[in-house]
Symmetry: C2
Subunit: 381 residues, 2 copies
Amino acid sequence: MVKQKLMIPGPVSLTPEVLQEMARPLIGHRTPDFEEILIKCWDNMKEIMRTKNDIILITGSGTAGMDAAIASTIEEGDECVCIMGGKFGERMADIVRSYGGIPREVKVDWGKGVDPDDVERVVEESDAKAITLTHNETSTGVIHDAKAIGEIAQKHGLLFIMDGITSVGGDLVEVDRWGVDICIVGSQKCLAAPPGLAMLSVSEDAWGVISNNNTRNFYLNLASYKKSLKKNTTPFTPSVSLVYGLSKALDAVLKEGMENRIQRHRTLAKATREAVKAMNLELFADEKVASNTVTSIRIPEKLTDEDVRGRMKREFGILLAGGQAQVKGKIFRIGHMGNVDYLDLLTVLSALEIVLKKSGHGLVLGEGVSAAQEIISNEIG
Amino acid sequence: MVKQKLMIPGPVSLTPEVLQEMARPLIGHRTPDFEEILIKCWDNMKEIMRTKNDIILITGSGTAGMDAAIASTIEEGDECVCIMGGKFGERMADIVRSYGGIPREVKVDWGKGVDPDDVERVVEESDAKAITLTHNETSTGVIHDAKAIGEIAQKHGLLFIMDGITSVGGDLVEVDRWGVDICIVGSQKCLAAPPGLAMLSVSEDAWGVISNNNTRNFYLNLASYKKSLKKNTTPFTPSVSLVYGLSKALDAVLKEGMENRIQRHRTLAKATREAVKAMNLELFADEKVASNTVTSIRIPEKLTDEDVRGRMKREFGILLAGGQAQVKGKIFRIGHMGNVDYLDLLTVLSALEIVLKKSGHGLVLGEGVSAAQEIISNEIG
């Protein structure tokens, strides 16, 4: 028998406690009891994101959150500086475009970090209202320097809209210090909650823009959510079961403590990188800007995606993520976010060694695992 | 001790089997295993809605489904005949307006059924592209004649967009025979699945309009969902846990059989109506068009909402729904949809008698209950 292991960059495996929470009987969504759960989620999210801003909860995927952020701030004809460099950075520009906005693209090679000077140049050349950044670009395994982008936004008086979907809860995000006006979070990533909820922190400056925005939409209009905030509710029926799960997941995040949690993710990432190098694999992302929640790795030239991911799934029940768009079939990705612990990672790495060797890739069994063990060994008490 | 009972028109109580299903470990959402679950949900929805049309699944509330239907078909300047008569009928017009469409409103007094002649007149006076109907108007407890509206739409070559959120799975809905081009369903109502999923059936005619539509939106753009249908997936991460729950709930719907299920809802509704009349209460909705999934009742003049709903919750743990908008504080509503059985209803009615009597309303204890018993007694074998 082979146990199934989810090692994709979200949805991530949930703890039995979070899963069981979703099995609780439903209660009315307009009751004081549910209000209490919502308020606790909002407060905990503020702590996790280091912000005093309002938190909005939307039933929908992370993309629903991205859509809500853009639709509520960008009007037809508005320019918006969009930092590209991966599938999700591109999606943000697509959303701007879909609402009639004009994305001023900052090109970034896939796998590289954005150069703040490039951003500043595009900002100066354009008449933009906002800058969008995908903080942690899941498709390439890169984390961008959000603080530097926040400074540029502040200097030029632009809104800073950050997709923190795969960073919040796993890596350092300081919404208030970095001046993030809208930070978008997905439930099913580093927070290790079930998929289906998007959350957004919204600054006073952003509310100002939103209240004057004329973009046409309904379900994803943040102005409606703001009105409901006063009554501690949501404008449309929230997924009560998912909110139960989220609430339990956030308890676990804060019980671990954000500092410990970030350190765990960084150790997992470093161990992964050292291990794959010791397996004669090439990291796809520039190591200086490598993500701490997902690692992208080139598929060796003589091997196929099937040789790596197909075999991992078939033989060991481990689901890894493939490459998307321009890197489809060229890279694979290991998600090490949420509830992944050191032994989960060592397990995956040991399976990967076996699979690569069987598929004809040159490596010495155990060398990758021991490189990871070194990192982990240095980390623990 | 008092057990909590959810008797609102959704979210409804779920069976332990459906609740437990949500506690299953997550699997990858782009895997053959998940594909299989999705396809089964789609097929079962087709059977429940009596249609061969495509089924689209969106992570979001029922309103997300309404938004997707309108945003994907109505462009700026398009006229749309909107049948009003309740909060949700009005919401449909609001959504049309929010996308720059022009609602041609067919006024209907709250609590009354729409007169098809009124619809035809507005259709003839306008240059509309579509007709919207809230099949079962939850806010007033009225079910409208969808078949008649479908005929008008067909005769005039208009799209027929129907909100079936609180009818599908509880009352008769014949999407293909009635010519419903887009039928919107919510998971948390008559289907007795967890809240957070919207589904839409989309006809070939509707796809034709959608493919030529230029409304600007992203997450709720049905064209993206159509593209993903070919690959048996959704364009954005679906809520895997909710889909597990939905799948189990649909199994239960089909195990009961739609004919039995509709009959049960009709019996529950009739028993409720007879009981409340025997309690000297006044039905709010015209009995000829009274909903089979929710019953709306006037609060007696000398009583307040607190006297009825407050006391029901406090003393017996039963959550009933209040009136919304113009009937706030004037009516209360009993949801008898989803998994509500005959004994659940008798329980609620017996509690209601006690509460009303305690609050000073004139009635004879047991008369309402026995009226309901009569109806149920005639129904069973």
